[in-house]
Symmetry: C2
Subunit: 493 residues, 2 copies
């Protein structure tokens, strides 16, 4: 299929449309025949695999182990934790039957009414309930703690308005569920996993994030605290990119999970859960990409270097290949993924545009003149800067360009973010400015009323009480009441 | 929880119970609260991860790419391929609603009748239909072919009788779906993937398999040919361990997937699909394990070597650790997974039994006397042979023991299999002998009637027409009619 790069909407014209276009044109994902569910295409999935590999390594370093729990959850499990069911009941896919039969005319199939389940089953929107029902059997004594399981799986939330990667009815994610003997340990675990997410976002995705704690309204259904990493997209909107929850003893109490402590006395277990999803791919796209297409951080790019030989005739093509082959081998030896594209059914200009669209970090081109001069042309995707250089130390140079690009796009995103965080003390000013995006640091009185009013009047929400900002007491800009700290308020995805 | 090894049923007493016991006692999996669905525990999941990693590598070497397609399939898609729907309609989980609401008494939740789907959705039992509906948009020209996608995911088939790993309502698997321009290329792909499965089974799982082609009755619903790998368990029963299907143009026609060939004329696309599942873990357990517990092939064992120091007091423990540490580091450097177990809350005898139960291939023990003599004791799990040896070349020796064990358990399984394959020409003899297990090479007239009669009278089924056996024409032992070749008949899981 021909790539119609010119049809890629410009960010300045319509940021939202640009994103939707890019997802499709860069071959990342597409809408499926099932409402709100996407097909993740091979190129998009390759990014997810790279993310998974690194996250999985980081989780295992903290002592978590992978496991797998059932897709379907008995309806009654849901009702056990009151807040939890309130949070998820409205968006559940419900299995009611287990068999189809031929229709009377024999031309189609229909649900077999005699195969009705006694109790309906819910496709997991998250797995706290089924996991804590299982943990009950795994935990008896303090020696069984901490218990730290993670699962990589699909979940389903029947969203009304969906967008690829950002909000889909089915999505892929990981959910960690840990059990601890003390409140302190569980709180520490929840914060530790938030740090893992922040580190991954910054060092691998090159996406700066604000870490913080959610307001009560925005908490995960059933949590005592929800910690979040919030990233800023290029339109100044916030994207909640990962959350970690301190669940207290809520699920332990709902599913009667106790342990005998060192004094041989029964206590309820303390819990956390934490997750990131394919939404991270949305964050990746929206943070770095530009009007020419994707910009991918080298550490997560499925193809890091593309090499395009442009020779006339077989002999010159072979001479070019002979020069490039040792460099490619050197790069592969140090773990760089290289694609050699000598296909002859596409013009070079088409290839350039396509690889720009797909966000390959480094492009190496070698033509007839380069062959004479013993040089290659290198282009890096972030700055689109080209340089013509010789073969001496070429592989090392490319590795350093990849490193530099990884750092550069992070710095660029950080600069953008930092110049779009504003302290604001006046609600009228806030209402005007928030439309243009950005994170607003405002004093908040801590009440749900103020929170609701801001949301209603500005479509902006309290993203979090940020960590690592020096906090001072002040006056709520909306209510005029005393406020203990500033929160980040922003429009969000 | 205490391990009660003595309660592990002996294979000779009740092979089936031994398997069920072992799955639970070795911490691989357990029954969940949802009918027919299992929880895969961390140790069982770690085996699956090792399998996935290697299979994924092998798939990618053939040019396949990973992708992800929706969990839910519109009911109407199912009816499009007539054989396919017949094969799967009777065991489908059906989603009919997308919301719950509070019950009238407010104490529970119930399905919200106003949230009924216009068209029911089926949880995928396999994904041919949704994938071919997607491929329609991806394939226009011969240049788009071959298209080779694989997905790692969960599927659901509402089985009436379930057993952990062998047959569960939900299971994890991979399903490859490829599209080709010619019949020959698709047939070749289906066979190639069968070879990949056979190679994996033999070289990684150490499980010998018979490759062959299924009878029409046993074919995948919608396939023109189903190729299979059949393994023999220690009770002589067959376990179908992986299948690869040549689907002809059936799905292309049902979903109208055509391409323009080099002459610019539209043709229907040719298809294959192929899959293996967590059932492979069942094959692994039942092929190698013994009355002491699991025996795992070193190449798939989550922990390959366990090191147990037995010292008196901190000083001796430290001296032992100092001696062992360099060996452990050497092993880890060459990719061997080593666990160092100096926990002091379990007796050595308990540890030995536990690691035997879990099938750790090599155990290294170092006690006070070893410290004096500068030796360690090594035990390998397959033969339970012990040797006391010095430190010179120890790491290399352990690596060679692991290799030897991998080969040895394969040979043992192969010997068992080969001495339990019988040529049989007499139906009365067959009926007597098939009860004791084994693969029976018998002439078959190729009719469904004979196949059905054998199944009815002996509970044995035609597993496949085996490849690589020299075939001669003969007489069907049941019907007395002429037969073109021998098939393998066996009882199976």
């Amino acid at each position: 299929m021909a790539i119609e790069l010119k049809d890629l909407t410009k960010r300045a014209d319509n940021y939202s449309q640009w994103f939707n276009d890019l997802v499709v044109k860069a071959d990342l994902a597409e809408q499926s025949a099932v409402r709100g569910c996407m097909v993740i295409k091979p190129y998009g999935y390759a990014i997810w695999e790279k993310m998974q590999q690194q996250l999985d390594r980081m989780f295992k370093e903290t002592g978590a182990q992978n496991a797998y729990f059932p897709l379907l959850i008995p309806k009654s499990f849901f009702s056990r934790e009151a807040e939890h069911v309130k949070g998820f009941a409205k968006e559940c896919a419900v299995v009611t039957h287990y068999r189809l039969r031929s229709s009377e005319d024999g031309n189609s199939v229909e649900v077999d009414p005699s195969a009705k389940l006694e109790e309906e089953l819910i496709i997991r929107p998250t797995s706290e309930t089924i996991i804590w029902n299982t943990y009950k059997n795994w935990i008896q004594s303090w020696r069984d703690l901490p218990l730290m399981c993670n699962q990589w799986c699909n979940v389903m939330r029947w969203e009304m308005r969906t967008r690829p990667f950002l909000r889909t009815s089915e999505f892929l994610w990981q959910e960690g569920h840990t059990a601890h003997a003390t409140r302190e340990e569980a709180e520490e675990e929840a914060k530790k996993m938030l740090d893992v997410y922040a580190k991954f976002a910054q060092e691998w995705m090159a996406v700066p994030v604000v870490c913080g704690v959610k307001s009560e309204t925005e908490r995960f259904a059933g949590a005592l605290e929800t910690y979040t990493i919030e990233a800023m997209m290029q339109d100044g909107k916030a994207l909640q990119s990962g959350t970690s929850h301190f669940l207290g003893q809520n699920f332990a109490k709902s599913f009667d999970v106790t342990f005998l402590n060192k004094e041989n006395k029964p206590e309820y277990v303390w819990a956390t859960s934490w997750g990131v999803s394919t939404r991270l791919i949305g964050a990746l796209i929206m943070t770095h990409s530009d009007d020419n297409g994707l910009v991918l951080p080298p550490r997560l790019a499925p193809i890091q270097v593309v090499v395009i030989p442009i020779g006339k005739g077989d002999e010159q093509m072979k001479a070019i290949a002979d020069k490039l082959q040792p460099v490619i081998e050197q790069l592969r030896k140090v773990g760089v993924t290289v694609k050699y594209d000598d296909s002859d059914n596409k013009r070079p200009g088409f290839k350039y545009a396509d690889y720009e669209l797909k966000g390959i970090p480094v492009r190496i081109v070698m033509g007839g003149r380069d062959l004479e001069n013993n040089t290659v042309e290198i282009m890096r995707r972030d700055t689109l800067e080209k340089e013509t250089i010789g073969f001496e130390g070429l592989a090392e140079h490319i590795v350093s360009v990849l490193d530099d690009m990884q750092n550069n796009i992070y710095k660029k995103a950080l600069d953008y973010r930092d110049t779009h965080i504003y302290e604001c003390n006046d609600y009228e000013e806030f209402k005007q400015r928030v439309k243009d995006g950005g994170f607003f640091l405002c004093h908040w009185d801590g009440t749900e009323e103020t929170e609701a009013r801001i949301k209603e009047e500005t479509q902006a929400t309290i993203r979090c009480v940020p960590f690592g900002f020096e906090q001072t007491e002040g006056v709520d800009m909306v209510s005029g009441k005393p406020a203990k700290h500033r929160v980040i308020i922003a429009r969000s995805y």
